[in-house]
């Protein structure tokens, strides 16, 4: 089965890439965008019996740096 992991910077952590994207959108003439945050999307193909606990450990140990990032796991 597919598992999707969304890794995002914690609120309050400066996101220079998001700021650059925001600036570029403004440069293209798109108004009404008040903020942009960039993150990372990781898709895992895993056996059906991989536990939620294991998925959480994968995120906490490697896929996200919990000093600066939050993560969210979705089983597709």
């Amino acid at each position: 089965m597919k598992v999707q992991v969304y890794v995002t910077l914690k609120p309050g952590v400066l996101d220079p890439q998001g700021k650059a994207i925001h600036h570029a959108l403004e440069g293209l003439g798109f108004g009404g965008v008040s903020d942009v945050r960039a993150g990372r999307f990781i898709e895992l193909e895993v056996a059906d019996d991989v536990s939620d606990t294991d998925l959480d450990a994968m995120c906490a140990k490697l896929l996200a740096n919990t000093v600066i990032e939050n993560y969210r796991i979705e089983r597709a």
Binding site: L14, P16, V67
Partner: protein, 221 residues
């Protein structure tokens, strides 16, 4: 003194670090591949060099911090062996949680590559005893992800404990409180983005990095 340089796929300052260690100790360091599980016996100083370990995939230093040899490096650090991480080595030390905080993309988004003025904040550590507190030194930087971040509570704590080794006099990457180098609680682990190993020979344009190695390797004149 027996020293070691840990080499990851993508390390590109490992030779510079080896030259610095050999220049100061008179003895070539052991070059230890990341897949090794043990350090050679009797290692008294460990360096994690700059570069792009594992191609900086996922995050700078993330995969190197989970490589087999890092368990031995962490054990050695726990026993009080001095560990110096420079640039990618600093990123690895934070990812391995041997130092607090994290290194993010430079605030200006540019790769910064030039000599920068630093202020020596703590001249009491085994790495910085060759400098005077408040002294201005010039050390080269070359990085894209050198923007030091930690939450306010952590920053207050490491500042209060005198664990900020160096600050940028000109904050080139947006680092929290201009922090360029951080010491561990026990003081035997130092991570810094600037490259002292690129400032040990007059041909480099400056020798302000030399005293760091002389102090840490116990050969301070």
């Amino acid at each position: 003194m027996k020293t070691a340089v840990i080499v990851f796929p993508g390390s590109n300052c490992d030779r510079d670090m080896a030259v610095a260690l050999e220049t100061v100790t008179g003895r070539a360091p052991a070059m230890v591949w990341h897949r090794e599980t043990e350090l050679p016996d009797g290692i008294e100083f460990i360096a994690l060099p700059g570069g792009f370990s594992y191609g900086d995939y996922l995050r700078s230093g993330a995969m190197a911090a989970r490589s087999p040899i890092l368990r031995s490096v962490a054990d050695a650090a726990g026993r009080g062996v001095p560990v110096l991480g420079v640039c990618n080595g600093f990123q690895v030390l934070t990812e391995a949680q041997l130092l607090p905080g994290a290194l993010m993309r430079n605030a200006g988004l540019n790769f910064v590559c030039r000599s920068v003025p630093l202020t020596v904040e703590n001249s009491q550590s085994l790495f910085t005893a060759g400098y005077k507190a408040g002294e201005a030194i010039d050390i080269p930087v070359a990085h894209h992800d050198g923007n030091y971040f930690a939450d306010a509570e952590t920053l207050d704590r490491i500042e209060g404990e005198g664990r900020v080794a160096f600050r940028y006099a000109d904050n080139v990457n947006g680092s929290a409180r201009s922090i360029a180098g951080v010491l561990s609680g026990a003081g035997n682990v130092l991570g810094m983005m600037p490259h002292p190993e690129r400032a040990i020979d007059r041909a480099h344009g400056g020798t302000d990095g030399l005293r760091l190695f002389e102090a840490a390797l116990g050969v301070l004149a």
